[in-house]
Structures are given as structure tokens and as C-alpha cells.
Symmetry: C2
Subunit: 337 residues, 2 copies
């Protein structure tokens, strides 16, 4: 069996207290003893039992993240980047990352949050894809479990988050298209309960208003953040009697779907139809033509979120609890042939 602290203590003729304190770096143990303890512990391959430590310390040294699995077999590069960021930063602080999956809004999701918070399997959580008046915010606040979010929600409660200013971003995107001579600019959005939908749609409207173009709701279609959703929405838009000359996708996947729909209709993207997205995923560099997009540094945001979360867990106060970043407009040939 794997050795326990008792085995180490016995071998050293010391009490388990001293072993524990020696390894934890307390200063009431002689430097020479500490060295002996450390050496023997390593020799014996001793690693403290996570469960026992958690039970006693009442902390799990783990943070949680629940992946919103919409369809089975989903694959959105946003999430692998986000998880990599969470994992890297957690790992470099000796924290673990607990991941689970649940379809958003369903009962299973709620059960999972309850299980994790009540059983104290995690010391804190990271949330993404915020919804309007997200129940998770209220729930976690009431349970006093530290959490951080990517993007804000519409709650009055103001929790720590990092938000990318998508509103200005989309406005800038519209400006860019207007400068290229476009007047009929369509927008393919997402489910209306998502914060990113309201925010980005508003940015789109801001942009139109600034250019003096009246808002036309027939130019707004609903997708679902996937390629397929973008594809179908774009088909509908392009089948209109007076189709748009430019399409903005709420994210890159949507935009890529739209490009495919256009291509299938025989339109030359960039010339006949401009297309732009949001996210800055790697795929967007490799479409043909390459996709104009707004880049947000997902990996870095994830790492930074974890740092904030760890500070909260250590009940330090945050210098900057709400952070607003600007996305970077990357103009490529899909809007600039």
C-alpha cells in the first residue's frame, strides 16, 4: 500500500505531528529534523492523502468548470482553449481542475452545481457562456462559493469577471463594413437568453446607428453558435429578394457556416459577399478566403480568471474585480478582397 504519514513517523521515531509540520514548513521544527523528514518522506514515496487533507482543512484545492454540452459530439475550439488555460494556471498553483458536462438550462445542470457546492468538492468555480439573469450567479452567491465568470450577466449582484467589450467590437466591425461600402449588413445571432447575444446585437445596432443606417430586423437571423446554425441562417438570408451584401456571424463558427452557404450559392466571398466573425479561433485564419474577425485572447483570459479565483478563495480582495478588455479587429480577405 501507499505509505501514510504514520508510516513515515514510525520510521523516523517522530510523532505524526512533527512530520506533518515539518513538511508543511512550520518553524517550530528544527531545521535538521525537517531535512531528515523530507528525505525519508521522499524515499518512501509519501504523498499526503488528498481526502484526509481536504476533510481536515475544509478545502479541496480544486476548482470546477462545467462544459455546456449542447449536442453530443460537440467540438468548439473556444472550449479547448479555455480549458487549457484553466488547467495550466490551476496546475501551476497545485490546484486541480474538476470538469463535468451538462446541457445548459436543464435539471441535470442544476443538480451538478448543487452536488459540487454542497459536497465541497471544489473551492470555487469558473463560469462561461453567461445567460441573462443567470441563476448560477444567484445560486453560487447564496452558497458563498467563490466564482468568476467570463462575461458579465444581467444580475444586479456584481461578481468578479473578465469581459471582452464585444459591444464596441461589433460596432467597430459594422463601421469597417460600412467603410467598404456596405449598407445591407446582416447579423446571425444566437439563442436570445445568452448574454453574448444581447451584447453583440447591441453592438451591431450601435454600429448601424453611428453610420446612419436604419435597423432592419429582417436582416437579423438566429443561429446557435455552430457552423450548421450559421449555414442554415445564411441560406435563409441569401434567399431573400433583397439579400444582404455583408454578413456578420456572432462567432467564427457561425461565420464559417455562412461562408459555406454563400459558396454553395456560387457567391465569391469577399467580392460578392463580405463575411466576418468573432472569436479569433485558429480556424478563421485558414478559411478560404481567410476570415475577418474580432480576436479575444481566450487562453490568457482563462488563466487570469483562475488567478482571480484563487485570490478569492484565499479571501484576498481583488485589486480589479471587473475587467474589461478590448477585442482586436483582424481584417482579412473575407471583407477586404
Amino acid at each position: 500500500m501507499t505509505p501514510t504519514i504514520r508510516d513515515v513517523a514510525k520510521r523516523l521515531n517522530l510523532s505524526i505531528t512533527t512530520v506533518s509540520r515539518a513538511l508543511d514548513g512550520y518553524d517550530d521544527v528544527a531545521e535538521e529534523t525537517r531535512e531528515r523528514v523530507k528525505r525519508v518522506a521522499r524515499e518512501m514515496g509519501y504523498v499526503p492523502s488528498g481526502a484526509a487533507r481536504q476533510l481536515r482543512r475544509k478545502r479541496s484545492e480544486a476548482i470546477g468548470y462545467i462544459l455546456p454540452t449542447i449536442q453530443p459530439r460537440f467540438s468548439d475550439p473556444f472550449f479547448s482553449e479555455f480549458i487549457a488555460g484553466l488547467g495550466d494556471e490551476a496546475a501551476s498553483n497545485n490546484f486541480d481542475l474538476l470538469v463535468s458536462t451538462a446541457p445548459p438550462g436543464e435539471i441535470a445542470e442544476q443538480l451538478l452545481y448543487e452536488r459540487w457546492t454542497h459536497s465541497r468538492r471544489v473551492d470555487g468555480m469558473a463560469l462561461s457562456r453567461m445567460r441573462r439573469n443567470d441563476w448560477r450567479v444567484e445560486f453560487l452567491s447564496s452558497k458563498k462559493l467563490p466564482f468568476v465568470t467570463m462575461g458579465s450577466s444581467l444580475d444586479s449582484s456584481s461578481h468578479p469577471y473578465i469581459e471582452v467589450d464585444a459591444r464596441s467590437g461589433f460596432s467597430a466591425l459594422v463601421k469597417h463594413l460600412v467603410e467598404r461600402g456596405h449598407r445591407r449588413i446582416a447579423f446571425i445571432g444566437a439563442q436570445p437568453d445568452l448574454m453574448l447575444q444581447s451584447v453583440r446585437l447591441e453592438g451591431y445596432r450601435d454600429g448601424l446607428e453611428a453610420a446612419g443606417i436604419p435597423f432592419d430586423e429582417k436582416l437579423v437571423a438566429e443561429g446557435n453558435l455552430t457552423r450548421q446554425g450559421g449555414f442554415e441562417a445564411a441560406q435563409r438570408l441569401l434567399a431573400m429578394p433583397d439579400p444582404p451584401s455583408a454578413i456578420i456571424g456572432i462567432n467564427d463558427l457561425t461565420a464559417i457556416g455562412a461562408m459555406n452557404a454563400a459558396h454553395e450559392k456560387g457567391l465569391a466571398i469577399g467580392r460578392d459577399l463580405a463575411v466576418a466573425g468573432y472569436d479569433g479561433i485558429e480556424d478563421a485564419e485558414h478559411t478560404r478566403p481567410p476570415l475577418t474577425t474580432l480576436n479575444q485572447p481566450v487562453y490568457d483570459i482563462a488563466r487570469r480568471l483562475v488567478r482571480m479565483l484563487l485570490a478569492l478563495i484565499a479571501s484576498e480582495s481583488l485589486a480589479e474585480p471587473q475587467i474589461l478588455l478590448q477585442p482586436e479587429l483582424i481584417v482579412r480577405e473575407s471583407t477586404n478582397p
Copy 2:
């Protein structure tokens, strides 16, 4: 504070033993009492402490997976699909998925494996991207920690795994290209220590041999499983005096990179140069032209791996410890204009 089992017992005037056994479904508690216990427990919002349970049961009800983060900001759709599969299946068995990240082959990786196994934070592990004579296999075997792998390694020890028969797959891919009239078929591979490199390269050679085409090592280039790697390798291949008429990428990302290199050189893919990949990621459906590939059901494999792993953890014996699946050749316009 969150209620403990003691609080529930006190409220019911029962012993904590009975509460525990009632909730765990033992049959030595009266049906009527069980109902009372369940009701009150729910009312009080009682959830057993994970740490205490783990400590006593000596099981963590969690499985681990370590993401091979090669570069910072990596995003390979393979992994989001794989993690979604692991997470979904684990969640539906009330298991948690512990994820961490480590660059493969470095000391940090080893430390992580040691920490997780010794501290018993996980009951078992899933591995992917197997290396030749993978030390992890030996390590986990010696620690007697259950594990399953996607793909086999070259170890004599035969652990449970699911392997996709990439060797036949690549052979079939070559056959397909030969039938389309190609004789100079290049292969862009990956780092030589990866199992998938040896296996897929062998499949490629099998295919050449079956077609009576001599193997030419100048047609084999090394990539790194990313688009960028594929792009650069393809540039080298296409700059040769007698360039290939077809390129096979070891995975879809590599192939997509190769398509871009060809496109940059003004070659019409499908007509001037055939390109094919392996994985069946969603991106491959949306390249222009769509990419011929070998599809492997990553999501399902991940779920199945977890089922195998849970059986191992419950020390059941597996009906089929080693599973070999056939990839499905999906011919698209990149090789079939």
C-alpha cells in the same frame, strides 16, 4: 454552514448509521424510515461531504485525464471532443473528471502523475496520444492504478485500450489515391516518438507496397500535428523538383495546413494536388474543397473508454479488454474533384 449527516440524524432522532444506510439504499432499514430520511435530507439540503466519503471508502469517484499542452494557446478539436466524451460518460455515472495539463515528456508531467496516483485523488486514468514504450503505462501498472488508453503503446504489458486501426486506414487511403491515378504520394507525419506516427507511417508503406510503388523517403516529411506544421512541411514537399501529386496528412489539421500551402502556390486542390487527412474533425467538412479523411468516432470512443475504466475500478473483468475499430474512409472533393 452546510448540514452534516449528524444534523440530519439529530433532526430525525435516528443514529447517523441509519441515515447513512438509508440514503445508500441498504435493505436493513424500514421502507418508511428510508422515506422519512430521504425527505428530511432533501429538505435540509444535505449532500455527503466528498472528502469524508473518499477518506472512508478509499475511493474518490473521480477519473483523471492530462491534456498534452504542447504550445500555450493550443486548440485541437480532437481534445474538446475527447473531453466532452469523458465528461459526459463520467457525469452520467456520478463520477467526476479531473483534468490537468502538462507538456508531454517533461518533468512536470511525471510529477503530476505521481501526485494524482499517490494522493489517490483519482480512481483511474484515461490516456491518449500514446508514445512508444510509454513510461506512463509502466508507471500506472506498477502503482496498480486502473487505466485505459486510446491507442496501444509498444509495451509488452497489455493494458485495456481502444485502438482505431489507422494502419489499415492509411493503407486504404493510399489505395484510394492510387486508384485516382496518383503515383507520387507524400506523407506528412509527426514526432517520431508518437505511436500514431509509427502506425500511420506503416499503413502508408503498406499501401504503397500493395500498389507496387517503391517507398521514397524524400516523400515523407515531419510535421507536428498542427496546421502550421502541415503548412511548412507541405511547402518543403511542393518546392522539390519533382513534387508529389498527392499529400496525406497524418491528421486533419496537418492536411488543412497542407491545403493552404498548396493554395498559396496557386495549385487547385483536387485537380492539381490531392490532399487527404485523418480524424474526421468537423473542420474537415468545411474546407474548400471539403477534405477527404478517415473518420474515427472520438466522442464515442471516449465514452466507451470511461465505461471500461469504471468496470476496471469496480474490479470487474472486461469482456473485451482490447478493442480494434475500423476508421471510415470519407471521400470528398479534395481527392475526388
